[in-house]
Amino acid sequence: MNIFVCVKQVPDTETKIVPTGDGTFIETASIKWIMNPYCEFAVEQALLVQAANAGSTVTVVRVGSSKDTEALRTAMAMGADDAFLVEAGDNLDSYMIAKALKGAIEKSGKTPDLILTGKQAIDDDCLQVPQILATMLNLPSVSVVVGYEGSATDITVKREVEGGALEVYGVKLPALIACNKGINTPRYASLPGIMKAKKKPLTTLALADVGVSDADKRVKYSGFTLPPEKPAGKKFDATDAAKMGAVVKEVVGLLRTEAKVL
């Protein structure tokens, strides 16, 4: 099987996010990048499928800055065979990313039997790339997948829906499956794995190589601001028994009119 995994690199969850001076993006210079946690599930799933289907290969694909290749290196250290990086800024929109991923998969020369992705990236939370990519490749896709089993041609996946219920899909491969937490437990990249990863092929492509240009831009980022600071809470003094009734009335009133939770 030709298994592809699309991964994204996101700021470490502990990063203090600062918008750029002109507000068109966030400061990226001092960010520590990690592989998007949902993509880790996708890499692990690819390796599990590979282990169950002898002779399969796992190729990782990423679109983004080449300054730090953390996500691709991690995926190869976990066990992926090779990687493609489409060099680009970190602020492409979902359509451009999907188109670039499609281009990179085609450039690999291999026809995908299975494409795995995370269900979303934890930085911009767009939840669009897997579906756009599947549409572009004319492949069936299932997202928010928490269970995967099957052969090299037919799989059964479980998908989480509102309220914790599960939908079960039978899917014929090739298909795109977007993974959610719970599908597996990603392995660590071992130290010998890290050393081996250095010798695995990493091909770098430019946006032009995969047929993506500024004309593909669908979204213009214009205003990044930090969320407003949470206002201080209100305190009510209800120690005086005589005034208790009035205080309760006031609190209930504010919960209704101000907090709008009642």
Binding site: Y188, L191, P192, I194
Partner: protein, 380 residues
């Protein structure tokens, strides 16, 4: 001159820190409380290549430099100093084989440690001989093709689980350090008697016991570097193991520091977070300086080793300075937490108990100062 870590080292640290945060920290308190070896965690660390960092590639190891092993040790100690002791004790026991063993001995004793998770114990200290290591009384006597070992060892880390004991003894106590011999003893050799587990202040999950050797007979080919050659091996071992212990102090100190900084920003007194009070700021600044200085000493001691230069003096600098700093930093972290810091509900109480041991084992802080002074006066 380059103070930066290489890309490889950054990745090594990344993995080790991830392991420390995800696997060790959540379980540190539990294993401290029940004082039992976290074998599953140790095995998982081994599977990832974080254990036995001293084994060279020729014998199945990962070929780490001394600096690499310091980075791993610091990260693991960040997760739990006690668990790190169980991991580091393997290196301490295997280093004499790496340093003093023949090719055949290395194949025989080191390679199995790269094939499955095995545990080793370093046996030097005795009930009546700690700092005065050259005065040890355990005897190693030649008898035909064998050597016979008799004596008592004390405070032996990993003793209850050890597959291999690396023991120092004397062929003739009157020769002092010139009579010291180092020998490898495999588990199950008749005459080894492992005592009860010590109930310690800190590093409670690491398994520490007395071990008695009664007429323990092993072939002469288990002697490292020949009879009476043990002292040189021991000294070279310390050049590597002391910075390693120092790096564990840096890890523990960094963990206490990170907790203290976070808490100082959350805890409000006199209507402001206590991080805005100078009394707290001064403590935090002192802690940060000591951690950085300790880490630099560790890295320099390891760098000298990697470059084949004498590092005994730096090894002792790093060990004494990092251990004393770690104790001070852990104590101040408890101080910043106030009453909460004294409670087992919060993590700094355990770090303070763990920190104390670093000033004691692998040469007390006082012994390090004796080594340093001796090095200075012998060259002036």
């Amino acid at each position: 001159m380059d103070f930066g870590l290489t890309p490889d080292q950054l990745e090594i640290r990344e993995l080790a820190m991830k392991f420390a945060r995800n696997e060790m920290m959540p379980k540190a308190q539990e294993f401290d409380e029940k004082a039992s070896m976290p074998l599953d965690i140790l095995k998982k660390a081994w599977e990832l290549g974080l254990v036995n960092t001293c084994i060279p590639t020729e014998y199945g190891g990962n070929g780490f430099t001394a600096i690499d092993s310091m980075i791993i040790t610091e990260s693991l100690a960040y997760g739990c100093m006690g668990m790190n002791t169980a991991i580091m004790a393997n290196d301490l026991a295997l280093l004499p084989i790496v340093i003093g063993g023949s090719d055949e001995q290395k194949k025989q004793f080191l390679t199995p440690f790269t094939e499955s998770y095995k545990i080793a114990a370093f046996c030097l200290t005795e009930p009546a001989n700690g700092s005065d290591a050259a005065g040890i009384k355990t005897t190693i006597k030649e008898d035909g093709d064998d050597v016979v070992i008799n004596g008592n060892k004390m405070w032996i880390s990993n003793a209850g689980y050890a597959d291999l004991f690396v023991l120092y003894g004397t062929s003739d106590a009157s020769l002092k350090h010139k009579g010291i011999t180092c020998v490898v003893i495999e588990k199950g050799t008749p005459g080894i008697e492992v005592g009860k587990k010590e109930d310690k202040m800190g590093h409670r999950c690491s398994d520490t016991r007395a071990v008695t050797f009664n007429n323990v007979r092993v072939p002469k080919k288990n002697v490292l570097g020949g009879m009476n050659q043990g002292w040189k091996i021991a000294m070279k071992t310390l050049d590597h193991s002391r910075p390693m212990v120092a790096s564990s102090a840096v890890g523990g100190a960094q963990c206490a520091f990170d907790h203290a900084v976070k808490y100082a920003k959350e805890r409000v007194q006199f209507n402001v977070p206590i991080s805005q009070h100078q009394a707290i700021q001064f403590m935090i600044a002192d802690m940060a300086m000591k951690i950085e200085a300790s880490r630099l000493l560790v890295h320099k001691a390891a760098w000298l080793l990697d470059n084949g230069m004498p590092n005994t003096q730096l090894a002792s600098y790093s060990k004494a300075f990092a251990a004393d700093s770690c104790m001070q930093i852990a104590t101040d972290a408890v101080q910043i937490y106030g009453g909460y810091g004294y409670s087992k509900e919060y993590p700094v109480e355990k770090i303070m108990r763990d920190a104390k041991l670093i000033q004691l084992y692998e040469g007390t802080s006082q012994i390090q100062r004796l080594v340093i002074a001796k090095e200075i006066f012998s060259r002036s």
